[in-house]
């Protein structure tokens, strides 16, 4: 963003169109910024309270919690910054939680170096081609062979999201320029309609 003055009328109009978009996509939580440990704790705890009020089943609650933590930690540990931006300690990105009658949807987005795109894409395609047993063996292989990185990741996040949700991961890489892309990941947790 350059320092061009923002027209106040445009800003107010944006507030309304933002509100309408949030309603249209049934978004319960939307965030753009640095993802710290405190943010992760605040978002998960807020979501747990809301799911309690909605009397969501324990199993759905736990799965939503799992996927939120892994998606947010992906941003915090792996997001890259554009050279023009002020670097922070933790990565920054976009996070959205939405809900309809059938499912919770968790969407995260962050900047990645183009050099990493192919690797992430291949892993996601590999995961999406595996069935439940295949995911289990990949998880066991990675937990045995993987190492905790300096950033505290175990390389298990995507596999775990796929295992916990039982659904395919939706993703896209949108080109920013010849060096960077915006990586968007979306996962769906079906709402367990059993009462308990």
């Amino acid at each position: 963003m350059d320092d061009k003055k923002v027209d106040i009328k445009d800003l107010l109009a944006f507030a309304y169109s933002f509100y309408k978009t949030v309603k249209e996509f049934k978004i319960c939580l939307v965030y753009e910024g640095e993802v710290t440990h405190q943010i992760i704790k605040a978002f998960t705890s807020l979501t747990e309270t809301n799911m309690d009020i909605d009397e969501e089943s324990t199993s759905t609650q736990k799965k939503v919690f799992h996927v939120m933590v892994e998606s947010l930690q992906n941003i915090s540990k792996h997001a890259n910054y554009l050279p023009t931006e002020n670097q922070r300690k933790e990565g920054k990105g976009v996070f959205m939680l939405s809900k309809n009658d059938e499912a919770y949807c968790i969407t995260s987005g962050n900047i990645v170096n183009n050099a990493k795109v192919q690797e992430i894409k291949s892993l996601l395609i590999k995961i999406n081609n595996l069935d439940k047993d295949g995911l289990k063996s990949l998880y066991k292989q990675q937990i045995r062979e993987g190492r905790i990185t300096l950033k505290g990741g175990a390389g298990l996040g995507f596999i775990d999201i796929a295992k916990k949700t039982g659904n395919k991961l939706n993703f896209n890489f949108l080109s920013i320029n010849d060096k960077y892309s915006f990586f968007v990941l979306n996962s769906k947790i079906s709402r367990n309609l059993n009462t308990n």
Binding site: K140, I143, I148, A154
Partner: protein, 127 residues
């Protein structure tokens, strides 16, 4: 041996490692901000304990949630217990899970597949 006693919070588990009273337990939630730093003293303690282990060590895991970064460190603990078992000590891992939590039960099965140590799954009712 010194006793490790860590009171759990909403992102770190309860830990009791008390050789004299033969209590070895990790319970609650695990998603520490710095997983490696949190588990380091626990792994170090187990290294020391291995040399003077009790005739039987029953290690209880009673976690309700752990993130993938913690899962790797939990495996490191289990690998230490495996080493003790392979060195001829009597070791039992008890993996407790809420009776309605299939994912936590499955996590136990996966660990049991990976490590060569006597492993018992224990379900408990959630109030």
């Amino acid at each position: 041996m010194e006793i490790i006693k860590i009171i759990g919070t909403d992102d770190t588990p309860n830990v009791i490692l008390d050789a004299d009273n033969e209590i070895f337990e990790i319970s609650g939630r695990s998603l520490p901000e710095d997983v490696a730093a949190f588990y380091e003293p626990i792994l170090d303690w187990l290294d020391d304990y291995a040399d003077e282990a009790k005739p039987k060590t029953v290690f209880d895991f009673k976690l309700v949630y752990f993130n993938t970064a913690s899962s790797k460190l939990i495996l490191d603990i289990l690998l230490k217990l495996e080493e003790m078992y392979e060195a001829g000590k009597d070791v039992l891992v008890r993996w407790h899970f809420p009776d309605d939590d299939e994912d936590m039960e499955e996590a136990g099965e996966e660990y049991a597949d990976i490590v060569e140590v006597p492993f018992e799954q224990v379900s408990y009712p959630l109030d």
